[in-house]
Symmetry: C2
Subunit: 708 residues, 2 copies
């Protein structure tokens, strides 16, 4: 923890709270079980694993394990007392302990796991308790680190410390975080204070805070971070130059200990703006040469640099279109520059016409990513990966899954989520996003004929791609509690856990997080898990109905404004009139978007009868009297859900208030203030949405509740 700034704050510790294992207090087995920690590895990453184990076990079990001198710095000061070389082999007499490290460096680990280690891969780990030794073995130091975090997670969530048997490897190769941080210290769509990386037009960070963030990310298995906003401004365009690389290398060094590689968001026009060239045409030799030189300089500074993240020809960002080139030509040019160093290009597919005329009902933003990229399948280099937003529009509370996911068979792809709650309450409302992401990941794309859910697209297994995974926009900032709303930490936690293992359930993740964060008090854990699990439905209930989306205030996107984007250029319309509402995206009579789906999905969305209620207005324009599968009319559904959602939002505050004294005071106070705001603001949503539709439809509420 960053003791200087936030010493002792529970909110800063997040899920590293390490509450005492009160269930074991009368059980004297606990002390001898983890009396020591040893390793024959001699690198910073395994040392970090030992450090977190020592801290966590010490806090949970009341006694900090001895750390073998071999496992520590040469001066041996880390442990309370030194144990002999035998300890490193786990042979230190009667006491039990932990042996952690790589198979290559630790003979005893090789003996314990034997051939079973073969399937762990580069980042996997195994944990096994045998003859008093809890062994954490991996092929790489970071695997051992992941194992250490996993053991701590097991112990913090109540696992019996006397025996473990775990084999884990991540489902996805790329498990990325995208920081939308700007060098001026602001964060685009950031709701938890300013940047921890930048301040006043400079890279300016406190190493301890960065290390603590790296530890949070690594603890849930994340392994890559794009360190600046995809909207790359003037100074950030120069990050690829020697002006900034030394400082970026310092950041990379901190993350490297935790197995996290750096990406930079780059400006496609940098050859002009930074390099002084007359063009940024990807086919221009001087441009190619410029990027090659930049890549060489970057790898000189950061040898394990992960690659570039690129938002090109999107929302006024420059890109290859300017030069009559396509996305593949643009991405491949960068990929060639990075490829010789082992680097990647992550190319965002969030490309659409952001200057649409609202009068034009033919153009459909939802179609754009598919229309732009589908024809390019197979045209990208092997070290290019397309980053595809999970929804075709943006990061609304409810959207269908992007039809581009899985459609391209010969192209690497990662699915992009948004942890920061841009459209989902901005960390002033509770909205646990893991259930939404699970819905996306489990969505059957029917690629290659079926058995192809998005999670199998993202991990590359459906199409046999070796490169794939997850990306997501971070929700952290310099606030002491990282995420503004302390319960929004669960979204960062859950994103990492899903990126590692998309089979985990939203509820299991919520429970893991709650137990680690608040301790083993079942009343607290049950209450928190219940609140988290209901929160997305509550939020959706009082905001835009039935998948129609938006209805927020322009620009900042907080709070209700039904017509906020209705007559604007962003392509986000609901077309509500006195008769009905919704967007006709059918092939038959609408924009044809439904036809971008495969197999039965296309038919399901095309059909008014089969389209799921929750997406009805995304796909169909219907009269207010249209009857949903629920039996209610659309207009009555709007009224009912909004009254219900606002009421349940109010109850969240009460439910949280019942935990007073059971959770740390700082966390309690921060969350309570936000729940109260949410309760008030949900009423505003309720009344504005209901009033808008009542004034338009003229249909009274069946229950005669107050509409203005």
């Amino acid at each position: 923890m960053n003791e200087q700034q936030h010493a002792g704050r529970a909110d800063y510790r997040a899920w590293f709270a390490y509450h005492p294992r009160v269930d074991l207090e009368t059980n004297m087995e606990k002390a001898p079980t983890y009396a020591w920690i040893a390793s024959s590895d001699r690198n910073d990453t395994v040392r970090a694993a030992i450090s977190v184990l020592a801290e966590g076990i010490g806090a949970m079990f009341g006694e900090t394990p001895w750390v073998s001198a071999l496992a520590t710095d040469p001066d041996g000061e880390t442990g309370k007392r030194s144990v002999g070389p035998n300890a490193a082999d786990g042979a230190n007499g009667a006491d039990s302990g932990i042996l952690v490290g790589t198979f290559a460096a630790n003979e005893r680990l090789r003996e314990i796991f034997g051939v079973e280690a073969a399937e762990l891969g580069r980042e996997g780990f195994a944990i096994r308790t045998k003859e008093g030794v809890t062994a954490i073995g991996a092929h790489t130091p970071v695997g051992a680190l992941y194992g250490a975090f996993h053991l701590l997670r097991l112990l913090a969530t109540g696992a019996d410390p006397s025996g473990h048997e775990v084999f884990e490897r991540p489902a996805n190769k790329l498990r990325m975080i995208n920081q939308w941080d700007n060098i001026d210290g602001s964060i685009e769509r950031g709701y938890a204070g300013p940047s921890i990386f930048y301040r006043d037009d400079a890279i300016d960070f406190e190493p301890a805070r960065i290390r603590d963030y790296a530890r949070l990310l690594a603890s849930v298995g994340l392994n890559a971070i794009a360190i600046n906003n995809v909207n790359v401004h003037r100074l950030e365009s120069r990050f690829v130059t020697e002006d900034y690389l030394p400082r970026l290398a310092e950041l990379a060094a901190i993350f490297r200990v935790y197995g996290i590689k750096l990406l930079l968001s780059v400006n496609f026009a940098a050859p002009i703006e930074v390099g002084g060239l007359p063009t940024a045409d990807p086919l221009d030799e001087a441009v190619q040469q410029w990027w090659h030189e930049r890549a060489a300089a970057i790898y000189e500074a950061i040898p394990d640099f992960c690659g570039f993240l690129v938002k090109a020809d999107s929302e006024n960002r420059p890109g290859p279109f300017t030069y009559g080139r396509g996305h593949a030509e643009g991405a491949n040019m960068l990929a060639d520059a990075l490829g010789r160093h082992g680097g990647l290009v992550v190319w965002r597919c969030f490309v659409y016409n952001c200057k649409q005329d609202w009068r034009d009902r033919k153009t459909d933003r939802a179609r754009a990513a598919y229309d732009h990229f589908m024809p390019l399948d197979g045209a990208f280099r092997d070290n290019v990966v397309l980053q595809i937003k999970n929804g075709p529009m943006d990061f609304q509370a409810r959207e269908p899954v992007s039809p581009l996911l899985g459609a391209m068979e010969r192209t690497n792809q990662v699915v992009e989520f948004q942890i920061t709650q841009e459209y989902t309450g901005q960390q002033r409302h509770l909205c646990y996003l893991v259930p939404q992401w699970k819905t996306v990941l489990d969505f059957e794309t029917h690629a290659l004929g079926g058995a192809a859910p998005v999670k199998r697209i993202a991990d590359g297994s459906v199409h046999g791609r070796t490169l794939g995974g997850f990306a997501a926009v971070s929700n952290i900032g310099a606030d002491p509690n990282w995420t503004g709303h302390p319960l929004a930490q669960a979204n960062l936690y859950g994103y990492g856990r899903l990126a590692w293992n998309p089979e985990l359930s939203a509820e299991a993740i919520a429970e893991e997080w709650a137990l680690q964060t608040f301790g083993a008090n079942r009343r607290v854990a049950d209450a928190v898990v219940g609140m988290l699990m209901e929160s997305p439905d509550i939020y959706e209930s009082y905001t835009a109905p039935l998948g129609v989306g938006w209805m927020v205030n322009p620009n900042h996107h907080y709070g209700p404004n039904v017509d906020g984007y209705e007559y604007d250029k962003w392509g986000t319309y609901h077309f509500a009139d006195r008769d009905g509402v919704g967007v006709d995206r059918t092939v038959r009579s609408g924009t044809g978007y439904a036809g971008q789906y495969r197999g039965s999905n296309a038919n399901m969305y095309e059909s008014l009868a089969d389209c799921p209620d929750e997406l009805l207005l995304f796909f169909h324009h219907v009269p207010y009297g249209h009857r949903l599968k629920s039996g209610r009319t659309v207009i009555q559904h709007i009224y009912d859900t909004h009254f219900d959602g606002a009421q349940r939002a109010g109850e969240l505050a009460q439910r949280w208030a019942s935990l007073e004294g059971l959770v740390a005071a700082d966390v309690y106070d921060e969350a309570l203030a936000r729940f109260r705001e949410q309760a008030e603001h949900a009423k505003e949503w309720r009344d504005r949405i209901n009033t808008y539709f009542y004034r338009k439809s003229g249909v009274p509420d069946e229950q005669g509740r107050t509409i203005y």
Copy 2:
């Protein structure tokens, strides 16, 4: 002119263009008529009068008059050659010339005007041509200056130079400009560049530019300027201290030459924020003492300081309410501090609840000024003047006249206009505001039983008040052409002319302005006058209909957004639903606002049958099918006016384009770009308003034009 920055720019010269009098080119009378200028006055203001006369006559007649040595600086360098003392008495042989100055200093002026000078008052002037001498006489130097500007205006608009006979005095004592400039250099609601007074958190001005602005103001008779925004921020709160008074005194000295006195906008909470006192309670002795000390310091620095302008208990500004005191107690306290020095308190009546709940239909912002201030009639000191916005809501394109104007019989009042086009196109659209102001000024209030139009309320004559007049928010900034849209100069010009003489017609003012600005080309003048005169109707036609107002984007207030404020806290609603639109402000069934008017006005507005069409939706909520006096339904009126307004906006650009080559190139280009923007933006207005009401009403356009 500010030659350094803007040398030779016609747009910077504004109505001081002084085109050659081509009509007189063959007429050799011109030269001898104004061969010399003389005065026995020895002060900067009369020198300024001589200077502007020399410059203007030189430009118009091709020969700069000789200036008498007596009338210039001691070194006599101003004139081309010196003329003897006799010249000062206008006795310089055959040549004709101008004698300008005060009656006290110029015996010949006393002789020429005799007893007729008695009625001119402190600021009036007389002009008379007699025996070859054009005499400009006044009781004060500023009167002489006004006379000089008036002579130039006559000559620039084509008057025969051979003879003049003019007696003028201003109708209003206070003829104020309010700058909404902030010390950071921004201007609240400014559309013509940054401030000319401030930059980067400092008072920072170029004296030549300030002098040129003072000359513009004085040329139309304005005599007071509040130099900082009524929303007084942190640093500006300190303007009343020695930190800023020396620089403010420098500003005051520049304005003083042109007869313009300085006001400061003050922060009612300054005793706390600046003085370090625990309260700003107006009845607290320490607070009173603090303001007395500040007043003394101000008058030490600026002996002719005009007074304070105060926005208190309005839009989150501090005020006496915080201490349980009323407006009279607050204003009188400040008035006592200033009164001993001859200063005034100008207290704004723009007080309303800006945190209204949109669900609450009882509260009516239109009522607020009257409700707050009417009970306080007679409670204010004689050196307090209430500044009352001309509309009860804000500065919309169409509002009824504030019922507070004239209602208070024992209270000084000025009427407040807004020259800057906050809601009237932000100087990107042409909107000549003089016709609107004329409508307000000619409005019969029925105070004291009648014959009490607003202009007679403002000048004090109806209620026998000696203090009254006009205030208006300036539309100028650091743009070279002062006002962004070069034709927006006409609004500044027109405001000053009306403040001097509210009997002038809007058309006469437009013509004066056009002839001075563009020269005596009738084709240009006729075109410009026509465009100016039609512009407010064009603008109103494509924006909010029938007096309902608003329908603009929040905060910046540019462009259409029908529901932009509909669910917000600012009290500005239209209540459109599928059946109808408008605000019921009747006594019978609405907010009762109509009852704030006197006599037949109350009945007229209360009655659906009698309410003028153009204010119908301000006073009544009616069905879309309601038939107007025009015979059209409300909905068809909306469609018709919006199609018509947008078309006429497009024609403005064409009409302007027909003047290419006939007006100065810089002015031509600047205006053309804005007319083109207006033409496009008017279509956006048309389509958004029409579409909104079509979607709500479902009523098709009778003419089948395109609505989206």
